[in-house]
């Protein structure tokens, strides 16, 4: 037992790290929001450091409550969602497709 060498769970998160995470998650934060988020995430990570005390060597990670395996079914034709109905629920559609602004060429 004892604290695991990794130890990073209790390391405090920096505003720079929060800014990077926000960018990865496609969220933009004001300076105030960044400070507040840093403070709150820091508090949480302090609390979550309780698992540092556990010796987890050799424990198999559990990604799912039940053992899951690939699910197969007969290859038969079935109804799928109606295209027009799906597109009607989108913010913008054109020619039977989702319409988006330019993907390349505008950002540095």
């Amino acid at each position: 037992m004892g604290r695991v060498a990794l130890g990073v769970v209790s390391e405090r998160i920096t505003p720079e790290a929060v800014a990077k995470v926000a960018k990865l998650a496609r969220l933009s934060l004001s300076d105030d929001e960044l400070q507040q988020a840093t403070h709150q995430l820091s508090d949480m990570l302090d609390h979550f450091a309780d698992i540092d005390a556990l010796d987890l060597d050799g424990v198999e990670p559990m990604t799912h409550p039940t053992p899951i395996s690939n699910v197969m079914r007969e290859d038969i034709e079935m109804d799928c969602l109606d295209r027009d109905e799906v597109l009607a629920a989108a913010p913008a559609a054109q020619d039977g497709r989702f319409r988006v602004p330019p993907v390349v060429g505008l950002e540095d």
């Binding site: 995470v21 496609r26 969220l27 949480m44 409550p65 039940t66 969602l81 989702f98």
Partner: protein, 483 residues
Amino acid sequence: MPTNSDRQGLPAGVADISWNVRNNVTSAADVLERHLAAIDAREGDIHAFNIVLADEARLRAAEIDEAVAAGRDPGPLAGVPIALKDNMCTRGIPTTCSSRILDGWRPPYDATVVTKLHEAGAIVVGKTNLDEFAMGSSTENSAFGATRNPRDITRVPGGSSGGSAAAVAAGFAAASLGSDTGGSIRQPAALCGVVGVKPTYGAVSRYGLVAFASSLDQIGPFANSVGDAALVLEAISGHDQMDSTSIRRGPFEVSRQLDMGVAGLRIGRIADLPEGASPDVAARLDEAFDALRDAGAEIVDVEVPAFGYGLTAYYLIAPAEASSNLARYDGVRFGHRVEAPDTNAMYMATRTDGFGAEVKRRIMLGTYALSAGYYDAYYGRALKVRRRIAADFAAAYASADVLLTPASPTVAFRLGDKTADPMSMYLCDTYTIPSNLTGDPAMSVPFGTGDDGLPVGIQILAPALEESRMFRTAAELERRAPK
């Protein structure tokens, strides 16, 4: 004929309504109008609903009454008014998750539970308020404003399925559906004084449930009695090929076992349960053990050493899964978009504008837990803790058939009490989280009152697919609950 209509001032429950409608004693239309009248009278104070579907419900009630008149059986939930948490897809009807980012979105299909309720003869009366994307424990994190507890409107109803719990407690619907990712059915059930059930993971199809944390999410019922909750669970459970995690088995049959009692059942008391329950709640838990002992059960002490680490494991795993699931809200396929010159700017503007503070916090926490350099320390270790917790519960169930804990550490708290400190809100989930990590079933049943006369809920936990013994215990507690 079933009777559970002794609840003062509330319309009859699920069992009474379906019996009366099927036997042409009452019309579905009359039943519906009584519930709509209750909504008219108190919804302004409670705000349980994001949308009330009065017109659709009236058409549906007329269909059911026509079926009965023609000698056809509408099904086991004939004419039962049911409210749906607004994170379950309803074809052509707005499904918002109480988020602005889904503004204007109308799903092109029904969730499997919605189809099953329809086939059972139920009537959907409305879509209920929730913490945005089911992230919260008070229903204050809604883009459309908080829901209030019908027992005391200065208090929260709990969350995230607070609207569904409040709708049942206020008599707006005979039953409702919620989703439970870390306690989001059981905690609001406890705070509102109703029954709330989180079934075994995979027992109820998640097809059409807007995903929060896919390895933890599970749909379940709220009702005013254990028997009513059993009837709804029976109607919505069973295999569904549209959900690849659905368990290959038929619907539950728990109703017929409710009168079996608990003689011979081994009820586990968790000796090393994390502290935090307030004295009033702890006292009711002690009385619940006494009541079950009086009923012939054996009380045994068990240990679940890793129980207390569940909170940390959960608040790393659930946000990690959420950060991935919520990546789909990018302004392309659903609802809301903020226009911008290029796609990346459009994603950023849409998500920044569309998500509320708690959802952003969890997306960032999850993104961090999954990011390069931190994955092993956070997400990876959390998954190992999850395995440890599951192993501890499996060991405890070798000597106990079910376990009892509080559902919530306290009775309903006041609006605004915990909104400034996210960590204090997360601690509400201490006792409910482990069942989501393991996938095992758990439910909350009202058992007396605590401080300020507010309801206390006792949580019953059972091994996977052992809903029968969980419901037997719940029914006994209901029979022996302090009046």
